[in-house]
């Protein structure tokens, strides 16, 4: 199990170049999970104790809006990372995450990872850098959507 997890981690774009030793450290905090379509990976306000690398399927990050119901604000597809609330106080999810299809993912134990990062600042730095990349990318996409690219021009 441990070996196959490591080979899985090798294929995750975000973890590229981390080195075998550190991948093994990460694998020690990881497990494979699956979610049926429609099931929730996590809910808003629950403790954020992990993050996910989606290997198959897609996940909607949702927020419940009174009168509108659950609204997907972004979808996370295969190869992407879901969740960063495990990294920062108060370690609680800000949104819901729901499987839109059958989802196979690798889940990483947040508390386990935080401990390893604290004892190995080099790992902590490398991981932080990679999450920052993910955050930047998400923020850029969000900024494009703020432009209302296809709107009627009224926003100008």
């Amino acid at each position: 199990m441990q070996r196959s997890l490591e080979s899985v981690l090798h294929d995750v774009p975000m973890l590229e170049g981390l080195g075998d030793e550190r991948l093994a450290l990460l694998a020690g905090c990881a497990r494979n999970v699956r979610f049926d379509p429609g099931s929730y990976l996590f809910h808003e306000d629950e403790p954020a104790d992990s993050f996910y690398v989606v290997r198959h399927g897609s996940v909607a990050v949702e927020v419940y809006v009174p009168t509108r119901g659950s609204v997907a604000i972004e979808t996370i597809d295969a190869g992407e990372v879901l969740g960063w609330s495990w990294l920062f106080e108060p370690y609680r999810w800000h949104f819901d995450a729901r499987a839109l299809t059958l989802v196979r993912a690798t889940a990483f134990d947040g508390a386990c990872l935080r401990r390893k990062c604290e004892s190995d600042p080099g790992l902590g730095y490398a991981l932080m850098g990679r999450f920052a990349q993910v955050l930047i990318e998400r923020m850029q996409w969000m900024r494009l959507r703020l432009l209302d690219l296809y709107g009627d021009g009224a926003a100008r």
């Binding site: 909607a60 604000i73 494009l144 959507r145 296809y150």
Partner: protein, 277 residues
């Protein structure tokens, strides 16, 4: 007045519209309609993928509209006085058409390689003839992927038709903002490129949408290693004549109605970098 007389009077002048009748009118979205037009008399023009017509709502004015399927199918978004009048045209109503004008998407040049069709909003309309051409000669191309982004699920064009495309080309659709009924992708259209399977150096990309959307799509395609000359875009500027005489549609040293609207990114790159050009 008899239709034969109509055709005669409308003459052949490139600035004089020919009467066309609305044969069919379908509402695509809250602000977009697709009209099928037939000449009131005479021959049906041959329109290549990507070419546009100057469409006249008599007494209101004229605007350039890309042809979204042969022979003369127009998908029009009602945003101004003229496009609103065009969209409101019921079957039987007569509109004036001039054209087709402009160059076309070099679809055949993409044969043998992978193809990306990247569309944003109403930008799918000028790319629809490309999709239809690709489907008609599907075997001549390797992987064909459509990445299409719209504002909301209700703004998606050709919803039923695109279902029939799905088995034959990889279709990825995303919206900027979803409602609770939407179970598809939510996010910016450029993000879909990560899902597409293509060999960058052997790929041709056909990109159409708002200029800012094309700007970011091009950036993403370049980052993935696509050569500039195989990224094709369709440019839009004000047009009053469509035939290279009124001066409005200048883009750097070119006139879009005469030298475009389809350009490779290699051609337009220096001009897109200059603001307010």
């Amino acid at each position: 007045m008899a239709t034969a007389q109509l055709a005669e009077l409308s003459n052949v002048g490139a600035m004089t519209p020919r009467p066309f009748r609305v044969a069919e009118r379908v509402q695509d979205t809250v602000d977009t309609w697709t009209l099928t037009l037939e000449p009131a008399s005479g021959t049906t023009p041959f329109v290549a993928p990507g070419q546009f017509m100057m469409v006249d709502a008599f007494g209101v004015g004229e605007v350039p509209i890309s042809v979204s399927a042969p022979p003369v199918v127009l998908t029009v978004r009602a945003v101004g006085a003229v496009s609103k009048a065009i969209c409101a045209s019921q079957p039987g109503k007569v509109l004036g058409l001039r054209g087709p004008f402009g160059n076309s998407w070099p679809v055949e040049d993409a044969q043998g390689g992978d193809v990306l069709v990247v569309a944003g909003g109403i930008g799918l309309a000028p790319l629809r003839p490309v999709v239809l051409r690709l489907l008609a000669q599907r075997g001549a191309y390797r992987n064909v992927t459509l990445c299409y982004g719209a504002r909301t699920p209700g703004d998606l064009l050709y919803v039923d038709e695109s279902e029939t495309w799905k088995g034959r080309i990889d279709t990825y659709v995303t919206v900027d903002a979803a409602d609770s009924s939407w179970s598809g992708s939510v996010g910016v259209v450029t993000k879909l490129l990560a899902q597409a399977s293509f060999l960058p150096v052997e790929t041709t990309a056909f990109v159409c949408g708002p200029e800012i959307m094309m700007h970011f799509a091009i950036r993403e395609l370049l980052e993935r290693g696509m050569p500039e000359h195989r990224i094709l875009v369709s440019m839009e500027r004000h047009m009053d004549c469509g035939i290279g005489l009124c001066g409005h549609c200048q883009l750097g040293p070119t006139l879009i109605c005469r030298d475009g609207p389809v350009y490779s990114y290699a051609q337009v790159a220096p001009w897109l970098e200059v603001r307010e050009l």
